[in-house]
């Protein structure tokens, strides 16, 4: 028997299953504080992989590190709303109190400080994860106490002053996170009685369930809006050894946190939706791919799954239906935005780097373990359960003719009431701003960085698939904010999160960011705007997944909707203005060789 907690025992517990690599890496990281080259080699040997494959996966995710990350690893969110709410002061308070800079650990290895992309707490920023425990609404004063606690060797969970509302206070959660449910709608956030959907579903045929979902005109809530019933039908029709249902709970789009609230307060509705989907497509297994940032919910969700098994709402002969077996497993991510893209998610769930696959074949043909798989958003599956419970006609009576039902929105930024709003499709942005207490916004970012930034002139536009389609992230940008800073923050995010596979995305996004900064520094020309637009088009057209296909949007949609802002920043009448400064560029070498730089004639005539 290998020693408890040893690498060998971790490998044995995961049955040396190569597809469980991310789970194994999570455990090793949690136990050792890093994944050393020796550990990577041992894992590789244990799983029959090359060391490079293990290191390739380990270096892909934010929450894995090759060097010790610190006994306490602090990951401070750097998204724009965190910045709006005082991130800079919180960050410097961490550096000052801990005595190390971001990206480093303290000399004794006790505290490590890191930046991370949006952790799904935009309504309670600035927020950070410390050893996976969420800290919200940070202030320099709170940071001082936290660092004191860490220096005293306190348990991180014990540093939480008070737990949040609802299930955030549950014994297995005990998080300081708040739900901030501002508006409960009838589809997702209304109360739900476990079994109400599954018991109805098993009384009709799987085809009947699909027909009902199709009739309801349910479109995918992740943002892309693919008809759910059709996806299920394609998946059911496909031949394979096994069929799978995968719930995409990797909401990584900056500014979205509604899935977190659904997972906290309506998990039964979600599990039921997955079970209904399993019945419809003929799957025996469902996976809940939960983003690493929400790992604090995992023990709670596991306990609920155990309860459902006891109630015969999961397992064999569900609700007494002969031949219907279905169970749900939770798969945790480890910090990677691109894993929200369904094919990258599947790669990650199989224990690989979260790099998107070529499509076709689509996941319905070749998904989890290359078997027919339906990948659906959390909210989509919840809506599907409710459609089976209450009927397609009930569902279709809400929303617009093309966008049936409701949408759960995550509203954050410069508004008085940030939080979760479930509203019927068709609601105007103006009305939403009134509800959220941010009526004087200069701009609204709809659908997160990958969506669109709209101006005040467009506030009558509607949240709906036919107008402003969104996965749910709404960031209010108040008057007085420098919109360029917002755009830069979004572009930095895409540069950081690109998986690097497609050159236009890997190399193009840094170029766009540099061009933007060139314009911001006052060295832009109208030609730079034209170049950004043409590069943006190339990146969108030549990238194979949604990340690169949308990453130029923060710049492109603001050039479209706030053109005067760009034009006032660039120097008119000049077709070229370099950022290059020769005297500056030779400084480093001069210091090494002792050569003295003298501006030549061309240098002077140039200026």
């Amino acid at each position: 028997m290998p020693a408890e907690g040893s690498l060998a025992s971790i490998l044995a517990r995961h049955r040396r299953d190569r597809t469980r690599l991310i789970d194994i890496l999570r455990e090793v990281q949690a136990k050792n504080g890093h994944i050393s080259p020796e550990a990577a080699a041992e894992i590789a040997a244990g799983l029959g992989l090359s060391t490079v494959e293990v290191e390739g996966a380990a270096t892909f995710y934010h929450f894995f590190s090759a060097r010790p990350a610190g006994t306490y690893a602090v990951y401070l969110n750097d998204n724009i709303v965190s910045v709006m709410k005082g991130r800079a002061a919180v960050a410097s308070a961490f550096e000052k109190a801990a005595g190390c800079r971001f990206g480093e650990t303290t000399p004794d290895g006790r505290i490590g400080l890191y930046r991370t992309s949006c952790i799904g707490m935009n309504d309670q920023e600035p927020a950070a994860l410390i050893n996976g425990v969420v800290f919200t609404k940070l202030t320099p004063a709170k940071v001082k106490l936290i660092v004191e606690g860490m220096n005293a060797g306190m348990n991180v969970r014990a540093m939480i002053a008070a737990t949040g509302d609802g299930a955030n206070a549950a014994k297995l959660v005990r998080a300081m996170v708040k739900n901030n449910i501002r508006k409960e709608g009838p589809v997702i956030l209304a109360s739900f009685r476990s079994g109400a959907a599954v018991k109805k579903a098993v009384k009709i045929t799987p085809e009947g369930v699909i027909a009902e979902v199709k009739k309801a005109n349910l479109l995918g809530r992740g943002g892309a809006g693919f008809p759910t019933g059709l996806k299920w039908e394609f998946c059911r029709r496909e031949k394979g050894e096994n069929h799978y249902v995968v719930c995409n709970a990797d909401e990584g789009e900056p500014g979205t946190f509604k899935d977190r609230v659904i997972l906290t307060e309506r998990p039964h509705l979600l599990f039921e939706g997955m079970t209904v989907a399993g019945y419809a497509v003929g799957a025996r297994k469902g996976l809940l791919y939960l983003r690493g940032e929400y790992a604090y919910l995992a023990p709670y969700l596991e306990s609920l799954l155990a309860g459902l098994r006891k109630k015969n709402l999961l397992g064999k002969r569900i609700a007494g239906k002969a031949g219907f077996s279905f169970d749900i497993e939770i798969k945790l991510g480890a910090g990677a935005y691109v894993c929200g893209e369904e094919s990258a998610l599947l790669q990650s769930a199989q224990g690989e780097r979260g790099e998107p696959r070529d499509r076709p074949p689509f996941p319905v043909q070749s998904g989890f373990l290359f078997q027919p798989t339906t990948v659906n958003n959390v909210e989509t599956l919840c809506a599907a359960a409710r459609i089976i419970e209450k009927g397609a006609d009930w569902f279709k009576a809400m929303g617009t003719p093309r966008s049936a039902g409701t949408k759960v929105l995550s509203v954050s930024g410069d508004c008085k009431k940030p939080g979760v709003y479930e509203v019927p499709f068709g609601l105007t942005v103006r009305r939403l701003l009134e509800m959220a207490g941010g009526p004087d916004a200069q701009a609204v970012q709809i659908g997160g960085p990958s969506g669109a930034c709209i101006s005040r002139g467009q506030l009558e536009r509607a949240i709906a698939f036919e107008d402003l389609a969104t996965g749910g992230s709404i960031i209010v940008i108040g008057p007085g904010r420098d919109l360029f800073e917002v755009i830069r923050n979004f572009m930095e995010f895409f540069v950081e999160e690109s998986c690097g596979w497609c050159v236009p995305c890997r190399a193009g996004n840094p170029l766009l960011l540099r061009k933007l900064e060139k314009i911001m520094s006052g060295k832009g020309t109208p030609a730079d705007i034209i170049e950004i637009e043409s590069w943006g088009r190339i990146i969108k057209a030549m990238s194979r997944c949604g990340l690169g296909q949308t990453s130029p949007n923060p710049i492109l949609t603001t050039i479209q909707n706030f053109r005067e802002m760009y034009e006032s920043k660039v120097e008119r009448g000049r077709d070229f203005l370099p950022e290059f400064d020769l005297a500056e560029a030779v400084k480093e070498a001069s210091a090494v060789t002792g050569q003295v730089f003298a501006a030549s004639d061309t240098e002077q005539s140039h200026e």
């Binding site: 077709d575 070498a589 061309t602």
Partner: protein, 182 residues
């Protein structure tokens, strides 16, 4: 009517683009009927003696002299062309961009395997030597570039087609085969 004037230079390149240029073979006889060369390694004219219609530059900028030559070209040439990967993207020389200049120079002059350990270590710092830039840059980050001919090297046919199109005043219509590299 006087012939159009062409000038060329190789900056931080390997002269491979110029070699490819010479690969136009016997068409070079047609070319010298069509154009006159000014500053260029092809005729060894060292300084500009008149205004130039078409300037062609291979290689990016890795030192102060490259920058000065490039700016001279921009001043004298009506149309300036980036020829090849290094001019357009920095190319192989730009691989040093991730390494601090000090480390590069010390590797070259102090630690390289070809250094004779019995000799004193000297960092060349003569004032006549160009000074290395902190990063190797593509040409268009320093001056305005009018056209880009991709390739490593661009094929002789591509260079020929581009030059003759320019001379005839036709749009640069490069077929897929000329810019396909795999």
């Amino acid at each position: 009517m006087s012939k159009p004037v062409v000038a060329t230079a190789s900056l931080a390149g390997c002269f491979g683009c110029h070699m490819s240029f010479l690969d136009i073979d016997e068409r070079i006889l047609t070319l010298i009927d069509l154009v006159e060369f000014n500053k260029s390694p092809i005729d060894d004219i060292k300084t500009f003696t008149k205004p130039v219609d078409i300037g062609i530059i291979e290689g990016g900028c890795c030192n102060s002299e490259n920058v000065e030559v490039l700016r001279e070209f921009r001043k004298h040439c009506q149309v300036l062309i980036s020829l090849g990967e290094c001019a357009i993207m920095g190319g192989l020389p730009a691989m040093r961009n991730a390494i601090p200049v000090r480390e590069c120079l010390e590797e070259a002059y102090f630690h390289s395997p070809t250094i004779d350990p019995s000799e004193p270590k000297i960092m060349p710092g003569d004032e006549d030597l160009p000074i290395i830039l902190d990063k190797v840059l593509p040409l268009h980050e320093i001056v305005k570039i009018d056209a880009f001919l991709p390739g490593c090297p661009p094929s002789a046919d591509l260079i020929w087609k581009a030059l003759t199109s320019l001379l005839e005043g036709k749009p640069l219509d490069l077929s897929y085969n000329l810019v396909k590299f795999d």
